[in-house]
């Protein structure tokens, strides 16, 4: 009998580049769809095949392509195109988008040693913290690139333990930066009321909003122990109450991990909606960069999974379609919904704005030729953006425009006075999946709009910084201590890695994966056969 041909069990949809999660060499990669899920697969000539789930719902993944907005050029680039993406960060002139948000990591030290930390921070003696002049240089780099930057986020490590953190906020506010964010675990906010007051006093000064981005993973004791290593529930409560009393707006930031706290997303949303200090929630599937609990790349959480969890756990509030992909970055990286909150005596109702305004009609950049209202499109672009933060003038103004349009679309009559009130009732929910060494796809990286600003004046896409080797490079340069490439703590790599001094995983024998080995010269310039970042 003649051999019979068989079909593949997957649909091949993209050819791209990524890195080997073990040695960080740049490799070809392909994106395939199987059983309505999207996977990225790649092969390292040294370490073999790797595959990871990148999106849980293939239909949403493919349909979100129409939300892809043309990028905006920054005013300046910091590097040249030499070896190609992701080795030239950055930003290099081939980058497709300016920075909506710039992150300044002020230190590597932290007052916690969380089992999950993409920055690999903790009580460590050999890290670094930046100086005033370094901070100024980083801010100036950002201002030179952006003119009037939207958002600066101070992060770490734990930025509140840097003794000059308030000075750094001041330095940012002295520049034409619209929003300053402080990314914190809240321990200092819980106990140091004067510090919270100092932040409150800075909120709105020089036209710059100050917001707190508060790590907040759930309410179960086990969630705290497994993700943070300590039961911080009381700290979080006190931090939030202090922020409410001192007029500091808070975003709850929840890292969500399979089997740990995925059952808590609904409670986090409900808690946030009711707390006076909280105006938004950001859900982030745990980034498997740096330090994290062991995981399986094929069953990790993605944006569509988190959205489904929110819909399932808040069935009275959310339905499919209430979250809309964000056009400024690659639309599969981030989705956002805005709610109008109606607190009634007997219950709280919410109205998702995407049901009132047909966002598709305004943010579809591929098939849309009907342009009814440029002002509304512009407002929606500001809302569906990585630079949107509740309470800031730009976001609130855009919310008023959207609310007015919602009323207008609903009844044909504009009610401008109630639109302002509606904006004040708004609550934002963000779902953002950051890439890791398994899921990295340069297609998305090239349009990333969340950037790390480095002390040496580069602006590096966040996911490149965490996945490709730039974090290790910068830490090594800044601290003078050699730092090995961090390898994801995937079950399948357990035998090939050992624990690093910081708790992350590194290859057992650095020489095996590093630059020591003889590599054949690759004819393909993609597979150049060397580390993506060299130092």
């Amino acid at each position: 009998m003649a051999p019979r041909q068989h079909d593949r069990d997957e649909v091949f949809v993209e050819y791209t580049k990524s890195v080997c999660p073990v040695c960080k060499v740049v490799v070809d990669a392909q994106v395939n769809i199987r059983d309505n899920k999207v996977y990225l697969r790649k092969r390292c000539r040294e370490h073999g095949w790797f595959e990871a789930l990148v999106y849980g719902d293939a239909q949403t993944y493919t349909e979100s392509a129409r939300f892809n907005k043309p990028g905006t050029l920054p005013l300046s680039f910091q590097t040249e195109v030499k070896d190609g993406c992701p080795s030239d960060c950055g930003l290099c002139p081939e980058h497709k988008q300016h920075a909506c948000l710039g992150i300044i990591e002020v230190n590597t030290g932290c007052n916690l040693d969380c089992p999950i930390c993409f920055a690999d921070s903790g009580h460590q003696p050999d890290g670094y913290s930046i100086t005033h002049s370094q901070c100024e240089h980083m801010l100036d780099t950002f201002v030179e690139a952006e003119g009037e930057p939207e958002v600066v986020m101070f992060s770490g490590g734990e930025p509140t333990i840097h003794k000059h953190i308030l000075d750094f906020v001041d330095l940012a506010q002295q520049r034409p930066i619209k929003v300053v964010n402080l990314n914190t675990n809240g321990i200092r906010l819980a106990s140091d009321r004067r510090f919270v007051r100092a932040l409150g006093e800075r909120n709105g000064r020089n036209g710059t909003s100050v917001n707190v981005y508060l790590q907040f993973d759930g309410f179960d004791r086990d969630t705290h122990l497994e993700i943070r290593g300590r039961d911080l529930r009381d700290h979080k409560r006190r931090a939030l109450d202090n922020c409410a009393e001192e007029g500091v707006t808070v975003t709850l930031v929840a890292a969500i991990e399979c089997g740990l706290n995925e059952h808590e997303v609904g409670d986090i949303v409900r808690f946030g909606v009711e707390h006076p200090a909280v105006r938004s929630v950001s859900f982030q599937p745990v980034t498997h960069s740096g330090r994290h609990v062991a995981f399986d790349p094929l069953t990790r959480l993605t944006n569509s999974d988190v959205i489904e969890l929110v819909n399932a756990q808040c069935p009275d509030w959310f339905r499919p379609g209430d979250f809309v992909p964000v056009p400024c970055c690659f639309p599969t990286c981030r989705s956002i919904s805005y709610l109008l909150v109606d607190r009634k005596p007997h219950r709280t109702d919410v109205v998702p704005i995407p049901r009132l305004v047909n966002i598709d009609d305004h943010l579809d950049y591929v098939s849309n030729r009907v342009m009814p209202d440029p002002a509304l499109r512009s407002a929606l672009e500001k809302l569906w953006s990585a630079s949107a933060f509740m309470g800031t003038p730009a976001t609130m103004e855009s919310l008023e425009t959207a609310a007015a349009a919602a009323e207008c679309e609903a009844c044909g009559i504009e009610l401008p006075e109630s639109a302002k009130e509606l904006g004040e009732r708004a609550f934002m929910i963000v779902v953002q999946d950051f890439q890791d060494p398994y899921t990295l796809n340069v297609k998305q990286l090239m349009k990333c709009c969340v950037e790390e600003i480095t002390p040496d004046g580069r602006i590096i896409p966040f996911c490149a910084y965490n996945s490709v080797g730039y974090r290790e490079q910068v830490r090594s340069q800044m601290s003078g201590v050699s730092v090995a490439d961090v390898v994801p703590n995937a079950h399948e790599l357990a035998d090939d890695t050992v624990e690093s001094p910081y708790g992350s995983r590194v290859v057992a024998d650095a020489a095996e994966a590093g630059d020591g080995g003889q590599r054949p010269v690759a004819a393909d310039t993609t597979n150049v056969g060397r580390k993506a970042v060299q130092w």
């Binding site: 049901r355 009132l356 009732r425």
Partner: protein
């Protein structure tokens, strides 16, 4: 369950009810300006199946405020005539079209789908979105569609469907806008209407999520007006909690497949 077959006593009233309902505050408040499920995305899909070419003439039956007519003119460079039963609706469609700078390519007139005010075989394509279900004499309306098309011309329809056994009892008693869908049919029945009018079916698709989404949107509008203008809801005679109850029932019916949404395309055979 009740029969989907309209009783003779109220069959004649349905058209008037719908014409009036689509003009009333209650419907405007609940349905918003995008009267049909699926929005512009489904309209685009429908338009894409009509083989439109620049300069062709398209008839939009029950054109409402004219968003579809303007989209067709802009994206397919066709000339569109919109027909609607509501005088006020036609006026506001004209105004919006003038504002969009499309008045030379898109015109509206008052007219009845069962007696279209158009000549025979004058159109290359015809669209009718979420309206056939409201026409009391669907056989006559389908014949009118066929008459308006030139040989080889296509008709594109999207509409509410109801399973053969009819609407669930809990939804049967609703007056006003839901009464309009009380005469919705299974999609195969709509197709048969077109066949009986001499048209050849080309495509039949299910788009049930579009109607589920519309239920969500109605719920959202009620919520918004409770916040901003509860007096408008009251003035329009809308009892928010009662409507919510119906929406729960409607959602259940969509999930059970009793209520759905269909897209149909058919062609008038060439000579």
């Amino acid at each position: 369950m009740v029969s989907a077959e309209p009783g003779p006593a109220w069959a004649d009233d349905v058209k008037a009810c719908c014409a009036a309902a689509y003009g009333t505050d209650a419907v405007a408040l609940l349905l918003g300006t995008a009267y049909h499920p699926g929005g512009l995305a489904l309209t685009r899909r429908l338009a894409g199946a009509l083989s439109l070419a620049p300069g062709q003439r398209v008839l939009d039956v029950a054109a409402g405020p004219g968003a579809t007519a303007r989209l067709l003119a802009l994206e397919h460079e066709v000339l569109v005539d919109g027909v609607d039963l509501g005088e006020h609706t036609v006026l506001s469609a004209r105004e919006a079209t003038v504002r969009a700078g499309l008045a030379e390519r898109v015109a509206f007139r008052v007219g009845d789908a069962e007696q279209l005010p158009v000549t025979d075989a004058g159109y290359d394509a015809l669209v009718c979105e979420c309206a056939l279900c409201t026409f009391p004499d669907k056989t006559v309306a389908a014949a009118e569609f066929a008459r308006a098309l030139r040989p080889g011309g296509r008709v594109g329809i999207t509409d509410v469907t109801v399973a053969p056994e009819g609407l669930p009892a809990e939804l049967a008693g609703i007056t006003g806008w839901v009464a309009c869908i009380a005469d919705a049919r299974p999609s195969a029945d709509y197709e048969q209407l077109l066949v009986d009018a001499g048209l050849r079916p080309l495509r039949r698709e299910r788009h049930d999520t579009a109607i589920a989404r519309m239920v969500d949107e109605i719920e959202a509008r009620i919520g918004m007006f409770e916040m901003t203008a509860p007096e408008r809801l009251a003035a329009a005679g809308v009892d928010a909690e009662a409507v919510r109850g119906y929406l729960v029932a409607a959602r259940r019916a969509v999930e059970a497949g009793t209520i759905g949404y269909t897209l149909l395309v058919a062609e008038k055979p060439a000579a």
